[in-house]
Amino acid sequence: MDALLIHRLHFAYTVTFHYLFPQLTMGLALLIVALKTVALRTGDEHYNHAARFWTKIFAVSFAMGVVTGIPMEFQFGTNWARFSKASGGVIGQTLAMEGVFAFFLESSFLGLLLWGEQRLGPRMHWLAALLVFVGSWISGFFIVATNAWMQHPAGYLMQPDGMIALASIWGLLLNPWLVWQYLHNMIAAVVTGSFVMASVGAFYLLGKRHEPYARTFLRTGVIAGVISCVLLLFPTGDRQGRNIAAYQPATLAAMEGLFHSERGAPLVIVGQPDIDKLRMDNPLIVPNLLSFLTYRRWTAEVKGLDEFPKENWPDNIPLLYYSYHIMVGLGTIFILIMLVAGFLLWCGALDRSPAMLWTLMLAMPFPYVATTAGWVTAEVGRQPWIVYGLMRTADGTSASISASTGLFTLIGFMGMYTLLSILFLFLVYRELEHGPEPAVGTGD
C-alpha cells in the first residue's frame, strides 16, 4: 500500500465531508440576513420567525463545519509535514488570519444570534446576523486564498534550503487566481443555500404545511437562485476557466479531454477520455466552441496534452474530466430550473405548479454534488503538484507516518463521520418536522 495514496485519500475524504457544511452555512448566512433585513424594515414578525427557523438549521450545519474543520487545520501538520515545513511561512499567514479575523467573529456572534435575541433587541440581533455572515465569508476568503496560492503561487521567494518564504503579503492576498476562485466558490455557496431554502419551501407547500412560510422560503430561494445561478456561470465561472487556461494549460487540456493541440478546438459535451489511445470515445462535440470560450476567437489554438511532458499531466485524467463535466452540466441545469421557477414566480403561478415544486424539492442534493465536483476538479487538476510548479504532491507528505498508520486514522474518521452524519440528519429532520411556526407557550 502506498503512503502517498493514503495521505491523499485521508485529506480528500475529510475535506469533502467537511465542505458539505460550510457551503450551506455561507449561503444561508446571506439569506438569513436578507430575511432579517425585511423583518427589521417592515416590522413583520413573520420574517423573523422564518429567519429563526433557518438560523436553527444554520447552527446545526455550522457546528458540523466547526468540528470537521478542526481536523483540516491539523492535517497540514500531521499528514503533510514536509509541505507544511516548506510553505508554512506563506500559507500559515492566511490560515492564521482566518483564525484571528473570522473564527472569533463567527463564533462570538453566532452565540449571540442563537441565544441572545431577548437580551439584544431587534437592531443588535440583526447586526449579530450580519456579522456572522461577514465572518463566514471572511473565513471562506482566507481558505480560498490558501488554495489559490497552491494553485498559482504568488508573492513568495524560494530559498536555497528549499523553504518558501513570504516576499509580499499583497502578492499573496491579491493573487490574480484568488479573486475569481473566491467569487465562484461563494456564489456556489449561495446556490446551495438557495436550492435548500426553495426545496424546503416546496416540501412544505406540497405537503400543505406551514404554507405562508413555505411561500416565503420559495420566493427567497428562487430569487436568490436565479441571480446566483447566472453569476455562477458568468462572469465567475468563465473567468475561472480562463485563469486555468492561462496558468494551468495542461489542466485545461485534461479537463476538456483535448489530447492534441488544435486550432478551432471543439467543446466536448459528453464522451469518455481513453488514456491509452489518447483520444475521446463516443464524443459529442460543438465545433470551435472551446477556442471561443477560452480566447474569444473561434479559430484560436488551444494547447492539447501532447504539448506537455507526461510527468506533468494530472495523474487522474478521467476523474478530472468527469468531475469537471458533472459540475458544468449540473450548473447548466440549475440555470434552467431557476429561470423557469423564476418565471413562474413572476407570473404568480409557482405555488400552483406541482411539477416545478417537485423539481425544486428533489433538486436539493445536486448543488452539493456540483460543488464537490468543482473542488475535485480544482484539486485533481492541480496534480501532480501540491504547490503548482514548485512542489510535487509526492514530496509533501509526512515521511514518518506509514501507510498503515494513515489507514488506521482514515478508518477512524470514516467511523466518526458516519456518526456525525446520523446526528446531522436527525437534527435537521427534527427541525423540519417542528417547522417554522413559533411554538405556543414555550417562549421558543
Binding site: V67, I70, G89
Partner: protein
C-alpha cells in the same frame, strides 16, 4: 521578533487552556455534581454560549503557531500523530454529545450522551496534560527535525521514553485535577442552590489535590528538564510567573465566586507561562543531543513574514478580545435553573 511571537503563541495557548479549561472541567465533573436532568441541563446552559468560542482559541493558536514557527508545527504535529488524531476524535465526540444532549428529550439517551460528554472532557484534560509533559521533557528529534514516539515504552522519561512515562502521566493527572477544580469554580459561580453548594464543596476538596499536584509537578519538571532551572537562574525576573501561580493558588482558598474563579485563571496562567518561560528559547527540546533541539531561531518563518504578521495580528486580536468581552458580558450572571426540556434555550 521570534521572541515576541514565542510570547504571543504561549499567551494564546494559555488563554485557550484557561477558557476551554473550565468547560472541560465542568464536563468532567458534571456527572457527579449535577444529579438531576434539570441540573445537568443547567450546567450545559452555563457553557452553551461559550464553549464553541473557547475552542476557537485552540484553532487560532494552532494557526498562529503554523505561520510563526512552521518547522515546529510540521515536526510536532507529525511526530505526535496518533495522540493528536485521538484529540481530534475526542473533540468531535464531545461536541456531538453536547448537541445531542441539548436536543434529545429521551432520558435514556440523555444519560448516555452525558457519559460521553463527561468521558470526552476528562480524556481531553488528560491528553492536553500529557502533551505539555512531552513538550517539557523533550522528544527524540533527528537531524531533519522530525521524530517518532511510541505511545509507551518502560514509563521512564529517559532517552527511549514513550509519549506516556511517569512524568507525562503525572502532568496529565495534575492537568485533570486543575481543570476539574477550575470547572467546579465555574459551576459554583454560574449556578444556584444545591448545585452551587455541591460545586463549592467539590472545589474545596479538589484544592488540596491541586496543591499536591502543583508541588509534585514543579519538583518533577525541574528534575526532568534541567533547562528550566537554568532559565530562571539567568533571568530572575521570570520568577514573576511562578509567583502569579502561587498567588492564585493561595488566594483561591479565601476567595468566593467570581474572585475564586479569577484566582484559578491566574494559577493556570502562571503555571503555563512559567513552563513557557522556562523552556525559552527552546520550543521543542530534544531528549537526546541538545544540539538537535528545536528553538525559536531554527523553526521561525522569515523575518518579513513575522514582521508583516504583526501588522495584522495586533488589530485582529484586539478585535477578537473585544468580541469575547462583549459575549461574556452579554451572558454574565447566574444561569437560571433549566427545569424542563421544553425550556431549551434554542
Amino acid at each position: 521578533m521570534e521572541t515576541l511571537w514565542f510570547a504571543i503563541v504561549a499567551v494564546m495557548i494559555t488563554v485557550y487552556v484557561v477558557l476551554d479549561g473550565f468547560d472541560l472541567g465542568a464536563g468532567a465533573l458534571h456527572l457527579w455534581l449535577a444529579r438531576t436532568d434539570a441540573e445537568r441541563r443547567t450546567v450545559l446552559a452555563s457553557i452553551g454560549p461559550v464553549w464553541d468560542g473557547n475552542e476557537v482559541w485552540l484553532l487560532a493558536a494552532g494557526g498562529t503557531l503554523y505561520f510563526a514557527f512552521p518547522v515546529l508545527y510540521a515536526s510536532s504535529f507529525s511526530g505526535f500523530y496518533l495522540p493528536l488524531m485521538m484529540v481530534l476524535w475526542l473533540l468531535i465526540l464531545r461536541g456531538m454529545a453536547i448537541e445531542f444532549r441539548n436536543h434529545l428529550s429521551s432520558p435514556q439517551w440523555g444519560a448516555f450522551w452525558d457519559s460521553v460528554f463527561c468521558a470526552g472532557s476528562l480524556l481531553l484534560a488528560i491528553f492536553f496534560g500529557a502533551a505539555l509533559g512531552n513538550v517539557v521533557r523533550g522528544v527524540p528529534l533527528d537531524a531533519a527535525g522530525s521524530f517518532f514516539l511510541p505511545l509507551w515504552t518502560d514509563f521512564t522519561p529517559g532517552r527511549a521514553a514513550g509519549i506516556l512515562d511517569w512524568y507525562t502521566v503525572l502532568i496529565a493527572v495534575a492537568a485533570l485535577l486543575t481543570l476539574a477544580h477550575h470547572g467546579a469554580l465555574w459551576i459554583a459561580m454560574k449556578t444556584e442552590g444545591a448545585l452551587e453548594h455541591r460545586a463549592k464543596r467539590a472545589a474545596a476538596w479538589l484544592w488540596w489535590g491541586v496543591l499536591g499536584a502543583g508541588a509534585a509537578i514543579t519538583w518533577a519538571s525541574f528534575r526532568v528538564q534541567p533547562h528550566l532551572a537554568e532559565s530562571f537562574r539567568m533571568r530572575p525576573w521570570g520568577y514573576l510567573f511562578p509567583a502569579l501561580a502561587v498567588a492564585g493558588l493561595l488566594s483561591m482558598k479565601f476567595f468566593k465566586g467570581g474572585a475564586a474563579f479569577g484566582a484559578s485563571c491566574s494559577f493556570i496562567g502562571g503555571m503555563l507561562t512559567s513552563a513557557a518561560f522556562g523552556l525559552y528559547p527552546y520550543v521543542l527540546p530534544s531528549n537526546g543531543d541538545p544540539a538537535l533541539s528545536l528553538t525559536i531561531e531554527n523553526t521561525a518563518a522569515s523575518a518579513y513574514g513575522l514582521g508583516v504578521g504583526l501588522v495584522w495580528f495586533v488589530p485582529g486580536i484586539v478585535l477578537a478580545g473585544a468580541y469575547f468581552v462583549y459575549t461574556y458580558r452579554s451572558f454574565a450572571g447566574k444561569v437560571p435553573v433549566v427545569d424542563a426540556p421544553s425550556q431549551r434555550r434554542y
